[in-house]
Symmetry: C2
Subunit: 122 residues, 2 copies
DNA sequence: CTTGCATCTAACGTCAGTGTCAGGTTCTAG
DNA sequence: CTAGAACCTGACACTGACGTTAGATGCAAG
């Protein structure tokens, strides 16, 4: 498939796909005229990358741990594996932060609820 | 206290405090010579603001819901209260995203663990 | 063959929070 | 009184993941 189809199937912009390739996150074959072609499997890969972006990873970090995705059973660099574990832990810490902030907002909501008819149930 | 002390007590940079004031998140009184002075209570306030930043709120959003912090028992604008509830929900959705991404990383870690001596327990 | 939509490269624009620098002023310790 | 640390305003720099534009080219349908 060409880049437009991958974009709509994976739910990202064409611009983003070119950027991901520039960052070494995805690859493509080129047609005679120079247009990018992708296999069906790239859809999943792009969705996975999007999840990592949503989790706050930078493209550089994603690039560093992608070897573990491509060949999970080979001897990837120990660095990539350690990166994987570090990012998992970082996400866990971030979840803690978010929950703390949400609790603070919940207390504020309770303190303000009486003065607004609106329900704000959890 | 002056700006340097507030900065070190709240764990932020002096630059950030000036920026927060510019964005209407904190206020200060000025000495005869023009220097900012703060009360002890500002430390908590800045820490609260930091939590919201960490939760991904923009300074504009924070500014919009601060009325609910200042006078929780008065009739704040309904907009501020709705903002509060929306942001709480947004944080909850973000937590879901993070957990999804973390699960994906956990699966990757499991698939790679056999080839690395290192423990990566949850 | 032509029309026209999709794609190409290259480059600049954006946003938000903060770092940093310059050049000047205020405050405090000795 | 004076040195020097802390503070002031104003402005430019930076980062990162894109949006957007321009001008040229590829490609499928009629």
């Amino acid at each position: 498939m060409r880049i437009g189809e991958l974009a709509s199937r994976a739910g990202v912009s064409v611009r983003s796909l070119r950027y991901y390739e520039e960052q070494g996150l995805i690859t493509s074959t080129r047609s005679a005229g120079g247009q990018r072609h992708y296999t069906d499997g790239e859809v999943e890969r792009v969705e996975f990358i999007q999840r990592l972006y949503a989790a706050g990873l930078s493209s550089r970090t994603i690039a560093e741990l992608l070897p573990c995705v491509e060949s999970p059973s080979e001897q990837n660099s120990t660095e990539a594996f350690e990166r994987l574990v570090r990012e998992r832990d970082r996400i866990s810490r971030h979840v803690e932060e978010l929950v703390t902030a949400r609790d603070a907002l919940d207390r504020l909501i309770d303190a303000n609820r009486a003065h607004h008819g609106r329900l704000a149930a959890r």
